[in-house]
């Protein structure tokens, strides 16, 4: 059974009222969805937690709109993306350049000579992602955390597929530059 088929089965159980279906899906994807929300809110944990609840409640309310031929993860990420956009529309958000990076996820900068522990790598990658242009960040996170196909990313972001691909290319290039600045080349 493929992952999509397994998710579809679990979703069906959830919709029939069996909480096991939900708990297994949630266990599987909660870190990825939360990681997406944390980065989209610039590290605001409180907002990310609110959006996390909103996302799954919205999924429950709109369960009849789930297309079984589609991946559950892509669908839930589409909902999470929409909730985030709505959140930004209804709140005053400071510009990316004015945000206090001290409070953001993984802001510690290490010198290239320091051996890269997992915690250091986490901080470095998070900082690199935070420095991305917002639309590049969106495409990058949808692809890398949500495994959302580019064709769906284009629909979610309401842009042509070539635009989505261009943003992803730029995001990868900028992340690579940031990592190389900190001495990370071709990590294996």
């Amino acid at each position: 059974m493929t992952e999509t088929e397994e998710d579809r089965e679990l979703f069906g159980q959830w919709m029939k009222g069996d909480p096991t279906g939900f708990s297994r899906l949630y266990e599987k994807y909660r870190f990825r969805v939360f990681g997406f929300l944390m980065r989209m809110t610039g590290g605001d944990r409180e907002k990310a937690e609110d959006l996390m609840q909103d996302t799954f409640v919205a999924a429950l309310r709109n369960s009849d709109q789930f297309d079984p031929s589609r991946s559950f993860l892509s669908w839930i990420f589409g909902i999470a993306h929409k909730r985030t956009i709505d959140y930004f529309r209804h709140s005053k958000v400071e510009s990316e350049h004015e945000q206090d990076t001290a409070g953001s996820v993984g802001s510690k900068i290490d010198s290239p000579d320091v051996r890269f522990s997992n915690q250091n790598l986490r901080s470095l990658i998070n900082e690199a992602v935070e420095k991305l242009d917002p639309v590049q960040r969106e495409v990058f996170l949808l692809r890398e955390l949500g495994d959302v196909p580019f064709k769906e990313i284009a629909k979610i972001m309401n842009c042509p597929i070539n635009t989505a691909l261009g943003r992803m290319r730029l995001a990868l290039r900028n992340i690579r530059k940031e990592l190389e600045k900190r001495g990370i080349h071709g990590v294996h």
């Binding site: 009222g17 708990s23 609840q53 996820v105 998070n126 580019f150």
Partner: protein, 182 residues
């Protein structure tokens, strides 16, 4: 140096979105293009060692409990009778009907009051008169109560001889009938 094919096809190749023919064509290109090979290799390495591992963020048990509480138990309802669309339609129709009924009742009551008032203004008053006192003997005059409309003076409801009253009634244009008393 960049290769345009990396952006146009390389990313779609890595996400598995190319058709079989397109995939075959791109793999052929990869065998000849060092730029695309390098881009693909770097991306796949970073993806497996950095992105997948470090972009996800752990949740707290409190958050998990909240989400679980709100979402785990979906109410099992009949999809036909209680679907969202049907429920909303029925509720909307109910409240709309209630509104119309309320408005209709209010309008009816108001019109009824108006109708009653108009009717009351058109219909002359039904004057209550005490029955004429039948005289005990033929010589006694027939006494009738005089109401305000034929009163001869400031006093009203006085009993006066019928003949006197008759004259006054005639003066006001009322047809009289001689009543012979036996």
């Amino acid at each position: 140096m960049e290769c345009i094919k990396w952006e146009q096809q390389g990313l779609l190749y890595s996400s598995g979105e190319l058709t079989e023919t397109e995939k075959h064509d791109y793999e052929e290109h990869l065998s000849q293009c060092i730029v695309c090979r390098d881009e693909l290799d770097t991306y796949q390495t970073q993806k497996s060692t950095l992105f997948t591992q470090f972009l996800a963020e752990p949740t707290t048990p409190d958050l998990d409990a909240l989400v679980y509480k709100r979402c785990a138990h979906k109410l099992h309802t009949s999809p036909f009778l209680f679907s969202t669309v049907i429920k909303k339609t029925v509720l909307s129709a109910f409240f709309l009907g209630l509104g119309f009924a309320g408005t209709g009742y209010f309008v009816y009551v108001k019109n009824d009051a108006k109708r009653s008032a108009i009717q009351a203004a058109r219909t002359p008053e039904i004057r209550e008169t005490t029955p004429a006192a039948v005289p005990e003997s033929p010589d006694e005059p027939l006494m009738v109560a005089v109401d305000d409309s034929v009163k001869s003076g400031p006093d009203s409801s006085q009993r006066k001889p019928f003949s006197e009253t008759l004259g006054k009634i005639s003066a006001r244009g009322v047809t009289t009938v001689d009543v012979k008393q036996e």
